[in-house]
Subunit: 162 residues, 2 copies
Amino acid sequence: MRRIAARLDVQPSALYWHFANKQELLAELADRITASIPRGSNGVLAAARGIRDALFSYRDGAELVLSTYALQLGSSHAQAVLTEALRAQGATEADDRGAALLHFVLGHATLVQQRMHADSHGALPDAGEADVTAGLDRVFDLGVAALAGGLSTSATPPRARA
Amino acid sequence: MRRIAARLDVQPSALYWHFANKQELLAELADRITASIPRGSNGVLAAARGIRDALFSYRDGAELVLSTYALQLGSSHAQAVLTEALRAQGATEADDRGAALLHFVLGHATLVQQRMHADSHGALPDAGEADVTAGLDRVFDLGVAALAGGLSTSATPPRARA
DNA sequence: ACCTGAACACCGTTCAAGT
DNA sequence: ACCTGAACACCGTTCAAGT
């Protein structure tokens, strides 16, 4: 709060005219992050990646959206995007699958983002020359594919294969 | 730190003889939580539930283990249990699947635990008489089943069906 | 070896008072 | 309507000094 106030050239107490408390300010921030998630119907994998990338593009975005979603402040835009992509693909139990997918994406993204953040501060145990992020994209894709229902995860498969 | 010190009838600064900082103390706590996860080979679903329940039995256990795992402090016992159960079931890509499953379980459990915690403090938007936790067990089971590989998620199916 | 005491540099939040 | 100033009740952490 003090840092935000400083950036606005205002006293910290001024923020409490606009927000009841820190949590409500964070909920507004989370809403802006999720609002930037693309709605397009390019398949479940594209939808999941859109969410992940939106989270990654803000510092602590994943953890913030996870917590705000848990408190049921903020919108459920992310889940709506996933459920919609699942339905377009003809998945069964699209609501539950959408929830599970969202939980996976939020867990995965929070974990990866925290690890990257720690690494950039040199706070990770030294693992030699290995990339901290090695294999995590593969884990993400595998997880999404599995949760999407074992069907094709792309609504637009390569034409050459058709 | 101050609260822990008080519980031990000691000054907060005394803790810094035993731990370098708060994060290292939390890592030790996370290790004790994951150490309580049962290793049995009763299938992937049982393994995943064992992890979830271990997390639930400590205040903020899920978030704590998620963060500690992200920083790669503490053991990878939870992931080992999942990977082992996947292999016993004959799953392909057991390592990546184990990672994805762990991410899902951590995301799901963190979300559910934070929501329950907020609800018990009356911090959730009023949803009438609905249970805050409604349907979440179903989402968990569906997620685990999907990530387990679409195979049977139980190593001991009902005998009546055999 | 293990702990205390005192300090340092922070937090989020409240609220009377200003304009 | 919107902000300041000052305070309150907290944090994690350090470090000389004690025993």
